[in-house]
């Protein structure tokens, strides 16, 4: 039954429904973050003062998180490459590394937040910190969602039927697309908040 559904083309465009769905979802995510970035620009231009990221935030920790997130983008694409090659062991290894790096990102972010809270810095402290906590907080929630999806795929790989399912590769690709998008958002957040 499933085989018949796959054999018939998913869409007239030649793109599978799953991939099309992920891209549509990502387009909506682009809109969400575009709204946030526009708000950031308006608030920044309307403020009489705006601190340098170096003075207000922990730039070394922010840089470390950038390195971690970019590395995780590479590891998830390696997991995809291994899934494409039907190498189960390689897939599990790279996916596990991706999940560990994702947790590392959140731990570093947690240390950063802790450092700020212990100094009495809260979202209500200033417009800058309100913007910072809102944007990095929403990004952090996206990281958490990505971890849930990636852990789900890792668990599925332990089930032979799931691993051999023709749609498994598409699922890995979809998860990868989402994860790369989260990485792209951070690529813009990092200089906007920490460096400029």
């Amino acid at each position: 039954m499933t085989t018949i559904a796959i054999e018939n083309p998913d869409t007239h465009s030649g793109i599978s429904n799953a991939k099309l769905g992920v891209w549509l979802f990502l387009a909506s995510e682009v809109m969400l973050f575009a709204t946030l970035f526009t708000t950031y620009i308006v608030l920044r231009m309307g403020s009489a003062t705006w601190p340098w990221g170096w003075d207000a935030l922990n730039v070394p920790l922010g840089t470390l998180n950038t390195v971690i997130l970019i590395s995780s983008s590479v590891t998830i694409v390696m997991a995809y490459a291994r899934a494409h090659a039907k190498d189960l062991g390689g897939f599990r290894l790279w996916m596990m590394t991706t999940i560990l790096l994702s947790f590392a990102f959140l731990v570093v972010k947690g240390f950063e937040y802790y450092g700020e809270f212990s100094k009495g810095i809260w979202p209500s402290t200033s417009v800058f910190y309100a913007t910072y906590f809102t944007m990095t907080g929403l990004h952090g929630i996206h990281i958490l969602c990505g971890i849930v999806v990636n852990v789900g795929l890792l668990i599925m790989s332990f089930n032979k039927e799931s691993w051999e399912h023709p749609l498994f590769l598409g699922r890995v690709e979809g998860a990868g697309l989402y994860w790369h998008f989260v990485d792209v958002v951070w690529i813009f957040l990092f200089p906007a908040l920490y460096l400029l």
């Binding site: 891209w23 231009m45 790369h180």
Partner: protein, 162 residues
């Protein structure tokens, strides 16, 4: 037959996915690391803000393009996906319209006390509301007269009645 169908289905699904290029992925990873280091390094020089923002944005856009083109396989992706992103980008740019307000008017240097002096034409409009002011005042000015006339008429009527 079922096995054949499953194998064919696998081929169909596989054809929808990009063939991974591990060497390219590693090259892009190295480029992203170099660009990240460059962003942090340049920011230490405390360039004037317009230049710093332009440079930061340029590097960020380059990094995002590399991730999108190679890791997300947008390079060589079907046109429909590109159209989705163009549409999202278009609406994203629409959201930038409020920013033109800040570009056209420098909010940080407005001295509200001197707005009237800086915009004498607007101040003139307020002062030149003369004719309408006169018209508006004319009605209440007439009204008391009419009301004042009423007691006089009543007094005359009373006198006649007497």
């Amino acid at each position: 037959m079922a096995k054949h169908n499953a194998a064919h289905a696998h081929d169909v699904v596989h054809a929808d996915h990009e063939r991974p290029n591990v060497k390219l992925y590693l090259g892009i990873f190295a480029a992203l690391m170099v660009l990240t280091g460059l962003t942090v390094f340049v920011s230490k020089f405390h360039l004037p803000r317009p230049q710093a923002i332009a440079l930061g944005l340029l590097i960020a856009c380059t990094k995002a393009s590399l991730v999108g083109a190679v890791f997300m396989h947008l390079w060589g992706e079907k046109k429909m996906i590109h159209r989705f992103l163009y549409t999202a980008g278009f609406f994203g740019i629409l959201m930038l319209i409020p920013i033109t307000d800040f570009v056209l008017t420098d909010h940080q240097h407005i001295d509200h006390a001197n707005v009237a002096a800086e915009h004498p034409d607007e101040g003139h409009e307020v002062e030149s509301a003369g004719p309408s002011t006169i018209n508006l005042e004319a009605k209440p000015a007439e009204a008391p007269k009419a009301e004042a006339a009423k007691p006089a008429k009543k007094a005359k009527a009373k006198a006649k009645g007497k």
